[in-house]
Symmetry: C2
Subunit: 400 residues, 2 copies
């Protein structure tokens, strides 16, 4: 299958490109390097060194024997989108070309506006490009479980059937996002749902949980094939950040009580799920929503797993809760479905400690690199006030 990946230089994009090549698909991609610049703006780097896009492409060609067609450019420019779709004629368009950070969107007005308009524009251009150039193509858009927020009812996959005042209907499940970024994903979901209804577009909207992991199998030990791994408080997500903290002996820092429940899945599982969705496209005019995660965990519980695995490997580290810079519930119901992908054959990986062990082993060689940027672990972007680094909620341990 011909798959075009918008945002191929990112954490998921670069892994997906290789996973698809390994599965025998034809891959093209575009990126303008924004993720590298955003992380640099946060004063951080990828824990795992990443190659330039030129070297990445050469490495992929060496490893997989087939090359990736690549466009260096900004998908907010429609002419570029049109050119790519005309040239490559994709059967699937995977939309990873959005800014993926909640804290980044909460920095200030400019960042909030940037994240929402950037994400809106790239989605719009892909939607109209598909309509006008390759209307049979399947749009696979990355959303987030964070679109739903934490309602006091179970979370279905996108839609639910309800009775209300004696009438029944199947309605979109209400979204209650918790950051400007998360709302940008809701705006995008709404636009994709409408485009699908309007033009008969095939669309899959993936409400993805938090992804963790440093590699997928086909990356081998070629440094050109490795994907990035962020640990700063804006682009480093929970488990990835905890693992990097463990490497340098920084306390693991769940926010608040750490009882926030979220869906999580390994990078390997994320690649499997996306590939299942790609290989089993929706019907013409079908807009389907998959909740994509392996298990639900409380964030604090994952910190304890990372601590325990690290200890087995001789890395002693404390778990020390920090002030929560976000505005979110600490205790809440969280019962999301994920039947859609299971129906396509997805079997969640259950060995979370095993994945974390692999991650720590991958990260040990990069201790100095993480150590040099350890200041980025603690967040200073607060949801409701002026920027100021959060404090530990307990006395900071001596290793901090």
């Amino acid at each position: 299958m011909r798959v075009f990946i918008a945002g191929i230089d990112g954490y998921l994009g670069w892994a997906l490109a290789q996973h698809l090549l390994a599965e025998g698909h034809e891959v093209a991609g575009a990126d303008c390097g924004l993720r590298r610049r955003w992380v640099e703006e946060m004063g951080s780097v990828s824990a795992i060194p990443i190659a330039t896009m030129t070297d990445r492409l050469a490495g992929a060609a060496d490893r997989h024997g087939s090359s990736i067609a690549f466009w260096q450019g900004d998908l907010r420019e429609y002419e570029l989108v049109e050119e790519i779709l005309r040239t490559f004629e994709p059967e699937t368009v995977v939309h990873l070309g959005e800014c993926p950070s909640a804290p980044y969107s909460m920095i200030d007005r400019e960042h909030a506006m940037f994240v929402q308009t950037n994400n809106l524009s790239t989605t719009f251009n892909l939607l109209f490009g598909i309509r006008d150039v390759c209307p049979g193509a399947h749009l696979l858009k990355l959303g987030t479980m964070g679109e739903y927020g934490t309602p006091a009812v179970p979370i279905p996959e996108g839609f639910f059937e309800i009775e209300y005042r004696g009438h029944r209907d199947r309605l979109p499940f209400p979204r209650q996002a918790g950051s400007w970024y998360h709302w940008s994903k809701v705006h995008g979901s709404n636009n994709v749902m409408f485009a699908s209804r309007l033009w008969g577009l095939r669309a899959t909207d993936v409400m993805q949980g938090v992804v963790f992991g440093t590699r997928i199998e086909c990356m081998d030990d070629d440094p050109r094939l490795r994907t990035r791994l962020d640990f700063d408080s804006s682009f480093g997500t929970a488990v990835n950040r905890f693992c990097c903290q463990a490497i340098v002996g920084h306390p693991l820092t769940p926010y608040g009580g750490g009882n926030q429940k979220r869906g999580f899945l390994s990078l390997v599982d994320s690649m499997r799920c996306l590939t299942l969705a790609i290989e089993n496209p929706p019907a013409e005019g079908e807009y389907r929503v998959f909740n994509q995660f392996a298990q639900v965990h409380a964030v604090g519980e994952l910190a304890l797993i990372v601590q325990s695995v690290a200890e087995e490997m001789g890395l002693a580290v404390d778990v020390c809760h920090a002030e929560n810079p976000r505005k979110e519930l600490d205790e809440h119901l969280f019962e999301p479905d994920n039947q859609g992908l299971r129906d396509l054959g997805y079997e969640p990986t259950r060995d979370v400690p095993g994945v974390i062990r692999d991650m720590l082993e991958d990260l040990v060689p990069h201790r100095a690199r993480i150590e040099a940027s350890r200041a980025v672990f603690m967040p200073s972007i607060r949801w409701d006030g002026p920027h100021q680094a959060v404090d530990f909620l307990q006395a900071a341990p001596s290793t901090a």
Copy 2:
């Protein structure tokens, strides 16, 4: 009360400014004249001639004895928003500074993108401006009943309490908008709801029905005080367009079966409702939603009322259904609440024929002006395909 009106030069904005002055409030406004340019782009004009902003302001000062502070400029520029809020220190910010046309947003990719980013940016700037300059101010944002679409269950005011799989919650009512414009209003509602939760902002989100009417009382017969009245297929809404059609003997053209039900209210009622919301602001941190309409009517039924009133006045006109350029249900449930404004004392005007009679009387002197632009009555912007003027569904009568 000090009220700042974003989009003061528009159909509702200019009427509201005067209604508020007449009620003794202090009024400021900003506009960059986009509505005039959009209607010009559609090849049309306001049926009722409107004065320049300079003359409007002079007229208002003559009539009401107090002048309106006015900023000529684009609210997509944050510096302007900040300057206005600092200078005027509003207690209420009424957000009418958005592009209000569904067909305009459906022209092509550029227009869709413009409407969504324009509406997103002005809302963002007002939200952040209020947060940073006048955090106690009440934001009154104009949304539309069209945000809800036409679900098969009754429509509450913004939120509903439901039971789902044995759990109960109060959730945002799902939105199912029917155009890029309507979705832009949903995106805006979501952003305002979030800002309110985040910063404790006072906000009223008005889901307004279709407004019709040519004047409010305090406009007298001063042409400088008259508000615009559009009749082109993009900016002219149902009843306003039907009245202009009647004036020049063009068949009244409900789309499709004409059974689409919508909430409607007169311009006078709209002004009353907005003023009630302004004079009764929500509490700090409260985000409230009002469904703002007087009655629910089928569009075809209103065409028949216009026909009948026109006939009484000696204006013979046919009702001749046209192809529906939109993608919408013709037959559907439509049971929206509007208790919130009633609780504040709103009494809907019941005399629809009376309002239509006044409108026709107001429009008769402008017959030549409407006649010169009669080509704009029939829509050519189709929701799902290339632009092409719609046909009558019955044989076009000879008067057409």
